[in-house]
Amino acid sequence: MSDLGRVLVLAGGLSHERDVSLRSGRRVAEALRSVGVEVEQRDVDASLVDRLRNDPPNAVFPVLHGVTGEDGALRQVLDLYGVPYVGADAAACRTAFDKPVASTMVGSAGLHTPPSIVLGHDTFRELGAAALMEAVVQQIGLPLVVKPARGGSALGASIVRAVEDLPSAMVNSYAYGPVALIERYIVGTEVAVTVVDTGDGPRPLPAVEIQPDSGFYDYEARYTAGATQFIVPARLGPAVAAACADAAITAHRALGLRDLSRSDLVVDAEGVPWFLEVNVAPGMTETSLVPLAAEAAGIELGVLCRDLLAAAAAR
């Protein structure tokens, strides 16, 4: 057995991404067991606080996606009970989980970010939708992407190619949250770069190139095995690959993240990486990107998760 002691993998929760989280949690727990770590996987519910107070684990691997898991709330609770955990602290999560805020900060650090507008549904209601939508399209241009300001797995996200499709896209986004991020659709190669730090500084894993058959990496393309082609390392020249790696490291540092993050980027025709968003609890399912990147780097997933836990426990 490892010397990590008892480890808790937290997965599930009440967010829209519960199902994905449960699958990620199972995979992380299995990977950890395969390298001799004593693991318990459990949900986040009313009994968690008792557990943390009366029988705390040596470390926690939070694999909770979406609200509570990635917005810093759960991590604040773990901090309250002094339980070490893998990943960014509560304050950094609050920033990173809010896509517009994260985008602004990452942009200030020098990365390219798509021009965007952030609008709550209250604004549309109070000021009228038709004129506002017209102005949005004029400023951002088509095609554009609409997605909830907070959330993941592309839930509530749409690509808008014609102006008449914008109202549906807005309503679709607002079903998942009250604020929408509307940004220019950047044409190019979609890649994801994982950043890991097991105690010796953040380092990038090979970029994973994403080619969904449908042309849009939505929920179905993400979680239906076979629906997306992944190429790893991404087919980028050395300079572009290095630029993508630098972009992910820059985002990781600019947002004050630690241990593990995954930045989603688009590389345009000139080889410029554009930052789209960052994930502080990236997916670890059978069709997720971080395990693919680890494999390409020659790192066993269980070893990576164990080393991340060890680094967290040593803090």
Partner: protein
Amino acid sequence: MSADLPDVRQTRLDNYVDRYAARTKGMTASEIRALFSVASRPEVVSLAGGMPNIAGLPLDVVGSAVRDLVIDHGATAMQYGSGQGDPGLREQICDVMRIEGIDAHPDDVVITVGSQQAVDLVTRVFCDPGDVVICEAPSYVGALGVFRAYQCEVVHVAMDDDGIQPEALEQAISAVRAAGKKIKFFYTIPNFHNPAGISLSAERRQKVLEICQKADLLVLEDNPYGLLGFDGDPMRALRADDREGVIYLGSFSKTFAPGFRVGWVAAPHAVREKLVLAQESATLCPPVFSQLAISSYLSRHDWMGQVKQFREMYRERRDAMLAALTDKMPAATTWTKPGGGFYVWLTLPDGLDAKAMLPRAVTARVAYVPGTAFFADGFGSQCMRLSYCHPTPERITEGVARLSAVINEELELRQTFGPLPAGHGHDYDAPGPELS
């Protein structure tokens, strides 16, 4: 960009992606289905599941029956059995069907792994790819899944408060045949319909039978809820008035317990012979242990008394739901008033889309099944199925209040953005059977 890096791996994370049968085309991840994972949490009032509420079962009686079964007949109960099913249970099933006017012989009955397998076997025996099955609009999601698996075309026919509309049925039969297509059967749930919650009236039953007889169209009568009516005696089954033209499907899942997975099909002789062979190729035999356990329960317990208890419990829940809907729902929302069974079918005000609204509902801690799950043709976006079978009356009231707030928010949003095109369905927009 260049591709001169070594060791590039291209993968779809599915080694068999080019080998699947065409019928798996729609088997993809559904974000709606994933939301039902949240609905399983106790914080959420789930009006989505169809799980029978079997908390009132006399577990001591069942336990004693199962114990005796193992001790006294274990060698038989744990052995293979007949593909047609246990003869003793088939006799008891005939007694059950007699309550709804069916005069059947045990030889007419084939026991199946729930009535779901009966739908599968009948479809397997009758349908080639492209054949048409006529269904009510809406129809049972599990049956639609079977028809899709056998690559049938489903033609829906409108219903009203008395069940399927006979004129619409006649028109559909004519239109399909005029298009040169073969209709293999008309699939119907005449009692306390899932999901519509309504029953085919006595007058309509005769009319529907006449239409089908005249059109030489086989009827597949699926009747899992027939004994769960809240008022009066059970309705007379279609099969009771047409032995040759109606295949009848029954189930113990709602009158006893679904975990045993025992249902049955009563069919004309020639069909039955094929169903037995189809059953043997599918499972060799239905589970013997389950059959004998149910047989013992039926013979040792006042099972009709238990059904009566179930009815009273479901009636209380139905009443709670209808009262809450009347109290809370915004204007222009309509719903059916079921006289039995598990479900209310709710139609939202114009312009609302139940599927698009579900994430908002889950955030508000209430869940339902969007209407698109009950149509094979993408319709139903303005509707939803609400089940009252499992939550307590208090939880139902709370769930409807939450749903009402969600609908009001959605109305406001739709007013802001104006009329939008109706959403489309996904083949797997319904929860799995394990959701309460």
